[in-house]
Amino acid sequence: MALTVDTLTSWMNDFAGKIEANAQYLSDLDTPIGDGDHGFNMKRGMTAVQEKLQTKPTDLQNGFKTIAMALISTVGGASGPLYGTAFLEMAKKTSSTDDLGELLDAALKGIEMRGGAKPGDKTMVDVWNALVPEVKNGTLTQEKIDAAVEASKDMIAKKGRASYLGERSKGHIDPGSQSSGYLFQSLLETEGLL
């Protein structure tokens, strides 16, 4: 469960691939309860991340910083500062640990701090909040990821664009929860990470 520059890079490349493959689906999720751009936002961001990572980062902290900056400067929507802060907090945390679970814990705190959302507000926080403990326990599975993403469907949004719809945000999967689901799925699929 110790992260290295190489496993971080593999993780990101796998995540970028999923984002690329599902960009239209993510934007479609964002259409009824948002502005229909989440997939395109994330694709722009992860393409930039992949390009940056072609130059091998000198260390883990540098790797996380590079990822954060690429996301912050290319995404444009709310997911930019949110994922950006997540990776920035992981960069900071590498000063004291390279343990994946602890790093993800720091990332989740960063997302909560940046967006002010709490669990149940129908944002990516819900997925992170459900799955970070599973990573730490070594109990993450695809079923748990799917369930965490699916759980956003019945929630009423309290943060982000979907919150303008109040009750009407119910019945739709939150796009940021879905993209976060892919991030955790990439953890499962990347050799030597869990």
Binding site: P32, G34, D35, R161, Y164, L165, R168
Partner: protein, 123 residues
């Protein structure tokens, strides 16, 4: 019965720019605007507002404005227009964004007005 939006701003650029924000979340909602005076200065124009009402594809219009004098021209235009127009003293951009999102989602006028109420900041 369909709901549309009319935006009245003192500044032509704001009137032209705001629909770009709303179209992202309300592509099917008819949004018309009146920005600046007849000769393009900072201010508002009753005639431009009446045109924005009549160009609007909806049966009923929710109208939003930036500063007080726009409201006066809006009220005159409403008195002279045949269309049913509802005028809101909400935060301009935030109120219009909320209304656009809810109209797109098929929410009715009553519920929209309930959600607009906390955004009321003018009198």
């Amino acid at each position: 019965m369909s709901l549309g939006i009319t935006l009245v701003s003192h500044v032509p650029e704001i009137a032209n720019g705001l629909p770009k924000l709303l179209d992202q979340v309300a592509g099917d909602v008819s949004i018309t605007t009146a920005g600046g005076t007849d000769d393009g200065r900072i201010g508002t124009s009753m005639e431009k507002i009446m045109n924005a009402f009549s160009e609007n594809g909806a049966d009923e219009i929710l109208a939003f404005y930036d500063l007080g004098s726009a409201k006066m021209n809006l009220e005159m235009a409403i008195e002279m227009s045949d269309k049913k127009v509802h005028l809101y003293d909400t935060a301009f951009i935030e109120g219009a964004y909320t209304a656009a999102s809810l109209i797109q989602a098929g929410v009715g006028l009553d519920e929209i007005e309930t959600q607009l109420k906390p955004l009321t900041i003018k009198n």
